[in-house]
């Protein structure tokens, strides 16, 4: 029973973990791309990695916290422009192929020895080198705080301050997306998703709107990358294709083209993922299941289940938990 409570607590803790917030923010950005505009961005992890590098490298170079955040946002903006200008006039799957390739290029450059001086190569940047400015901002007193079953230090890597900041940013992003999608600008985006030619016939510059959407969503993704690395380290290999696919699963689970979908999706996804893995590990360690499934296999089975979930989700409930089937971008090219 104790064991079960431990697993449950761990899964609950995952609901408000900074990583969950980071994925939620990246999914909010992807939601602008895919949910509202119908763009198939398969390189959200590239935006996140660039944001993380921008923030980390700027901080190490001596920039104050908010300037470093700005650098991360600008990195996302430039990357979106570079990707969008050549590909947004082409059919949807070209953007998918180009974005996933570009994200991989970023990762390869990050982990190569070429820019090792700044990026730290394959081993990445250590957290302690860039966390200082962020932790100095903390208004919380020293010590630890217990809320319910959760206990963290107030300020530090895995702390309440990181959580408050991360979810604060997510809340701001939600407000931004809510406002922006209700605006005339947002209605044009939805129009592009539904029927590009009709919007063009109204005299709107579809290409420009798509580019703006790609830039805004990409900047949110870059910010998500900053949130992701605040409690840990910047490791290029942790931010590859798998991350992009997880962001997609989060978005499709919660519901594309809804404001709260990405947040709900991230919480359910990571809560369930943690529950499943810790649960299976506990089963494997303590019961006869261990003879069949070793603890190393738990990660692999967990990964397989994510893949199967994504497939079933897209086939049987593509609108996700909160979504509306009519508002789905799959039908347009």
């Amino acid at each position: 029973m104790d064991e079960f409570l431990r697993i449950l607590t761990q899964s609950l803790a995952e609901l408000i973990a900074p990583t969950t917030a980071a994925y939620a923010l990246a999914a909010i950005g992807l939601n602008l791309h895919f949910g509202y505009t119908g763009l198939l961005n398969m390189g959200q992890a590239g935006f996140m990695l660039l944001g993380a590098y921008g923030f980390g490298i700027a901080t190490i170079a001596g920039a104050p916290f908010f300037l470093a955040l700005l650098v991360a946002l600008v990195a996302g903006l430039i990357f979106a422009l570079l990707l969008g200008i050549p590909t947004l006039q082409l059919r949807g799957d070209y953007l998918a192929i180009v974005t996933i390739s570009a994200a991989e290029i970023i990762r390869w450059i990050g982990r190569s020895t070429w820019l090792q001086e700044w990026t730290g190569g394959a081993s990445g940047l250590q957290g302690r080198n860039y966390k200082g400015t962020f932790q100095d901002l903390s208004p919380l007193p020293d010590g630890r705080t217990v809320i319910g079953p959760l206990e963290y230090i107030n300020t530090g890597s895995d702390s309440w301050w990181t959580r408050i900041f991360a979810w604060g940013v997510v809340a701001l992003a939600l407000l931004f997306v809510w406002l922006v999608t209700r605006s005339p600008w947002g209605r044009v985006l939805k129009g592009i998703r539904e029927d590009e030619d009709a919007v063009r016939a109204l005299g709107k510059n579809v290409y420009s709107y798509k580019l703006q959407s790609l830039v805004l969503g990409g900047m949110l993704g870059a910010l998500g990358g900053v949130l992701y690395v605040l409690p840990i380290t910047i490791a290029p290999d942790a931010m590859g294709r798998t991350m992009t696919f997880f962001v997609w699963t989060v978005l499709l689970l919660g519901g594309a083209a809804t404001v709260f979908g990405p947040v709900l999706g991230a919480m359910i996804f990571f809560g369930a993922y943690m529950f499943m893995r810790t649960g299976m590990r506990a089963l494997s360690e303590n019961t006869g299941v261990g003879d069949v499934i070793s603890t190393t296999n738990v990660e692999q089975i967990g990964g397989m289940l994510v893949g199967i979930t994504l497939m079933l989700l897209v086939i049987f409930r593509p609108q996700g938990i909160l979504g509306n089937k009519k508002e789905l971008a799959f039908n347009v090219r």
Binding site: D93, Y94, W108, R111, F245, G307, I315
Partner: protein
Amino acid sequence: MTTDRPTRAIALRRTVAALAIALAPAVLASPPAQAAPGADAAHTSSAATSTTATRLATDVATDCKPDDSTACVAVVVMNDAGDRIADAEVTITGPGGFDETVTTTADAPASVAVPEVGRYTLTLDPASLPAGEQLPDGASTELQVTAQTGGTGRAAFQVGGEAVAPESPSAEATTTAPGGDEGTDAGTGTTTEGDGVATAPEGDASERAFSWGQVWQQFGSGIRFGLLLALASIGLNLVFGTTGMSNFAHGEQFALGAALGFIAINQMGMSIWVGGLLTIAVCALTGVAQDAAIWRPLRRRGTPVMQLMIVSIGLSITLQYVIQLLIGGGSERILSANPRPLTLLGITLSTTSWISMAVALVCLIGFALFLTRTRLGRATRAVSDNPALASATGIDPDKVVRVVWILATAFAALAGLMWGISFGSFNWQLGVQLLLLMFAAVTLGGLGTAFGALVGSILIGLVVELSNLVIQSDLRYASALVILILVLLIRPQGILGRRERIG
């Protein structure tokens, strides 16, 4: 599909052949001259760098697997017959006060994980050598290697009375593929004998001298890469042509071929031919099964292609972890024996590589004949041109698509298997790594065109291997993807594609 234009492909092959002939003399003239600088760069401590019996061990070490955060140093001691000598003691010292002694075995290079990248000195203890196999007079007992993260720095001591050369130069770190997490051993082709022809350089481009011999050697490696890539990406292109879906799980079909081949040939001990055929058969079955279970029902429902694409991403994630479950997380080799090098036209590749290239070429030609000469092949082209019109003329698109799935998965499996055999080691991430190169190849050649995949693949293969000469080898795959993006800027329909497809 522009299969009705085979003349272009033939013209291209002729151009390639003409280029090959034109380059050959330069290459044949250069080998003796360029053995020395390479050796100098690699091994400055020894005075004897002239004629060397270079023998680079290409095995991945048994007890140290280089990955993202690990660098390895491996050492073998060989007698003049090329056999490994067991129980010799080698002390490895390096930066940070690293000092460790390893004992060699006859099975695999002895290796050790080192904490830092940098230059390591290996010292052989002559007292530990067998009586009949001492170091030649005047030979140094020291070698130096460079260890890099994600790679193995390899050194070989040459002992035995008749060995002319004191020792072979140490190998520069053979960087595992740029993804680092992939582990393809690109150094397989670098095994050289006797005259030390064109030891394909690895590591930092700035450290080695440029020579036409190297260009030619890399050109050969590029053709090998391109042929295998073509075999794999033709399936991707066919599926795209007939169903309109970008299949993200195709990379895993490729890796599945290597993984099942590893299980059948290495672990179950089947012969290459039996194990290979079995692997291909099983993979073709997975193609039939997934078409029947997933893709055909979805097509019946009229699911949009974008949705299909995301389903294929889900399938790709699932298969990745299935492969990891099958072969584990480390790098594996299908054939554990050292590859035998074979030099043709001045290009030194392992014998298995040459066989793989021949098999790939035969399959590609056979496939071209199938598409242009047989009823079913023509039906395939008709379906990919216009499914509605094709079914109106009595072609059953479902049957054609089923055949396409069988061909696509079987070719991918064959390519994966031959990749695993001729490129040394691979790991479970091979698929995704290659998938992006396949996409680059088919986009470059023209999405949905069968011969476009061939042309694009050869070009991508050449770019990847030749870019090795000018940029760091851990960025060479990135160069292919940069080309992909440039192509989309300049000619989005690809080399052989048609404008209306890009819409």
